[in-house]
């Protein structure tokens, strides 16, 4: 567990762009990811959805690459490309035959330097974004509920309470200038991380990075100011009835330290806590709710690799005939047991083993290295955090896990419980 996971090398260009190479020679293929350290969490107040809308418009041309030509070129060369926006990052990627990597770098550097955001394509693309929102959220009961739940817990205008894609009225209000301003503020080389994984030599990548990304001018980086969470949840309890829902579901979420916020040393122990509590069959909630026949599913999750406050969530889907009270009582009893008894050494070792034993499988493909490394570097964590993640987890003790659980479950802070029920 002491060996670095990917053995990646890293350096920084003169304009501030961080470059990382995770060499992998299994096939003559290269994955090329550009992470921008700005996501929906940086959306301006009252303009939720800007980061995501800009991600769409980044495919509409740059000074030397006409609108649509980027994806056509990738497809024509037999590759794949796409992009994604999270709260913390916006990332663009291509997977191509390795000899086409310089071509990808040329095109990506061009749009990093200057996106055109053509006005003529702005309104049709806004319709696409609105369609995306309808298909992912508005027409999916769980999507509607999850959006309302986040707003109830953090507030509809807090960066954690806003939907990544944006509130519909705010998407409609976004202007081209909003996107251009976001690009100018955040799409600067020093605010980006370039990650290449695959059959690529370091000397070649250094040369290509200098040639293609080196000329992109250095610009000042806008600070990321994530407000702290509210002292308490605006709504501590949310019950939604929905005519489309056929199966009820329950969620309960607590604000928690993350790898970048609060007592950051609790982030790894909280991974253990979530696993002990609800990490699949063998977990406490599975035994108490699923094995007992009260629920068809139950579990827990921890969102800690994030910039700013994190969260610990427990959930359950009751079986027909099980009451809401039964689910909440059993859930509360399990949380009380965690507070009182803490986490045992055996549970801690099991959780660590099960979470890290598959680390080797992360090397069995090109996607894991860029996603793990990019996601961490883009929120300010060091490369070593990813490379030595299994060793870090192995060092977690039962006492640390118990302390972290008590800190989250007993401390005052935003917490919300919610039911999605058939109408």
């Amino acid at each position: 567990v002491d060996r670095p996971l990917f053995g990646a090398v890293s350096w920084t260009l003169g304009n501030g762009l961080r470059v990382v190479l995770a060499e992998n020679k299994r096939a003559p293929v290269a994955a090329h990811y550009l992470y921008v350290s700005a996501g929906a969490g940086e959306d301006p107040a009252g303009k939720s959805g800007v980061a995501h809308f800009l991600e769409h418009m980044m495919f509409k041309g740059s000074p030397n690459v006409p609108s649509g030509a980027f994806s056509r070129t990738v497809s024509g060369e037999g590759g794949q490309d796409n992009a994604f926006t999270s709260r913390d990052v916006t990332a663009y990627f291509q997977i191509v035959e390795a000899t086409r990597l310089p071509l990808m770098m040329r095109m990506e550097a061009d749009r990093l330097g200057g996106a055109i955001i053509p006005q003529a394509e702005f309104d049709p693309e806004r319709n696409v974004v609105l369609e995306e929102r309808r298909s992912r959220t508005d027409s999916v009961p769980q999507g509607r509920f999850r959006e309302a739940f986040d707003a109830a817990m953090w507030g509809p205008q807090h960066w954690r309470g806003r939907p990544l894609i944006g509130w519909e009225p705010e998407i409609r209000a976004i202007t081209r200038d909003d996107l251009a301003a976001f690009h100018a503020a955040h799409y600067t080389p020093a605010n980006c991380v370039l990650i290449v994984a695959g059959d690529v030599r370091e000397a070649d990548l250094r040369r290509w990075a200098d040639e293609f990304y080196g000329p992109v001018p250095r610009r000042p980086v806008s600070p990321r100011n994530r407000p702290n969470p509210p002292a308490a949840a605006p709504e501590a309890r949310l019950v939604r009835r929905d005519p489309a829902v056929r199966e009820a579901s329950f969620l309960r979420s607590f604000a928690a330290p993350s790898a970048t916020w609060g007592t950051t040393a609790m982030a790894d122990p909280l991974e253990v806590v979530a696993h002990v509590l609800g990490g699949g069959p063998g977990s406490r909630l599975h035994a108490a709710l699923v094995e007992s026949g009260l629920a068809t599913g139950a579990g827990a999750s921890y969102d800690g690799d994030t910039l700013g406050v994190g969260s610990l969530t427990v959930f359950a889907t009751p079986r027909p005939g099980t009451t809401q009270e039964q689910i909440e009582q059993v859930m509360a009893a399990q949380l009380a047991r965690l507070l009182q008894e803490g986490v045992s050494e055996a549970e801690t070792r099991r959780a660590v083993r099960q979470q890290t034993v598959g680390a080797l499988l992360a090397l069995d493909g090109l996607g894991a290295a860029p996603r793990m490394i990019g996601g961490s570097l883009a929120i300010g964590l060091p490369l070593e955090d990813v490379e030595h993640w299994p060793a870090r987890m192995a060092a977690v003790t039962a006492a640390q896990a118990t302390e972290a659980a008590r800190h989250v479950l007993a401390a005052p802070g935003p917490a919300t419980a919610g039911w999605l029920l058939p109408a």
């Binding site: 020679k25 056509r72 990738v74 995306e132 298909s135 508005d138 027409s139």
Partner: protein, 395 residues
Amino acid sequence: MSGTLFGVTLPVRRGFSVPIQLVEWNGITAWLVEDRNLPVVSLAWAWGGGAALDPEGREGRAGMAAALLSEGAGDLRANAFSDSLRDAGIGLGFGAGRDGFEGSFRSAVDALPEALAPRPPRHDRAASWTPMRSDRVKARAVRGARQAQETPPGLARQAFWERPFPGHPPGRLATPESLAAVTVEELRAGLAEQLRQGGVMLTAAGDIDPAGLRAAMAQLFEGLPAGRAARRAAAARHGPLRHRPAGKGGRAVHPALRPGRPGARGCRLGSLPGRLRILAGGGFTSRLTKTVREERGLTYGIGAGLDLLFGRAIVAGHVRPTTPRWRGVALVREGWASMAAEGRPRPRWRRRWPSWAAPCPCSSPTAAAPPRCCWAAAGRARAEWLAGAATASRR
């Protein structure tokens, strides 16, 4: 191909092939992609049958049996079994499709003896299933069937298969009622009918040699009855599909549309995958993406691909329209019609072919990918097709 694009000189591609060995054990032939770069082994195997063997009124039986196999084996309780696999980093799963029953596992090579020996992912341990365990799996399956009816795509999928195949296996989908009716005895009977040594297709990739694979095959299949599962039903002709809303209004504010057409036999696909990719497949560059999404903003996602059913291809498309009277339908029809009128792809389109003609090694070079790709290719291509320039060798 070489040339210059955006000022970048494109060198000649390096070329790539996947050497495939044919490994035999007791009449079963496996495809093996030996790859020593990483100490990981991946196996995938399948039988014909699956949901097509579900009796009338018991739709979903094969899927439930697969879920039970994934939960446990031997005398171990489900939790203990799951824990033992996760402790060793072994990924194991079974699944039932419309016309096949599949199993797979992936593990570090160090864990292979553990994966196969003391707690084998065997599929003949149905005798240990208890009513309580099957009841739990059934409740989960019923929940899944009910949740599938909560969204427009779920409703559209149901209509897509039920309407053109009424009464035929692909048109008989699992419902909460049919799942609830399945008993433990019926699950056991279904597996006894399904799991035979005959007709097994198996692929393997990773850090394993032919001898090791033979040993694994013996662990997996020794003791299964000889012979094949009942003959699969011949595919009924896919009836005409018209644009009909599948939802019933209410909160289904965003209906889904699945256009479909019967296709060629799997082994005679010819240029069809290429034509589909140009029309509606793969990323942001298809014609329908351009006309429906990019130019008019009428949808977020639109695409089409080939679905295999009983050895035949079905062209299945999907789009999520804004309203039941969605004006994009005409554009979709125009796209299909123009593509049909043009016939075979023009030479300039062939430049795009690498992306679909050899997708396995280039798009996802993982130990898991070759088994999946080989399985997808099974029955419609020879090993040499996947191997590229290399010749498959029998070991």
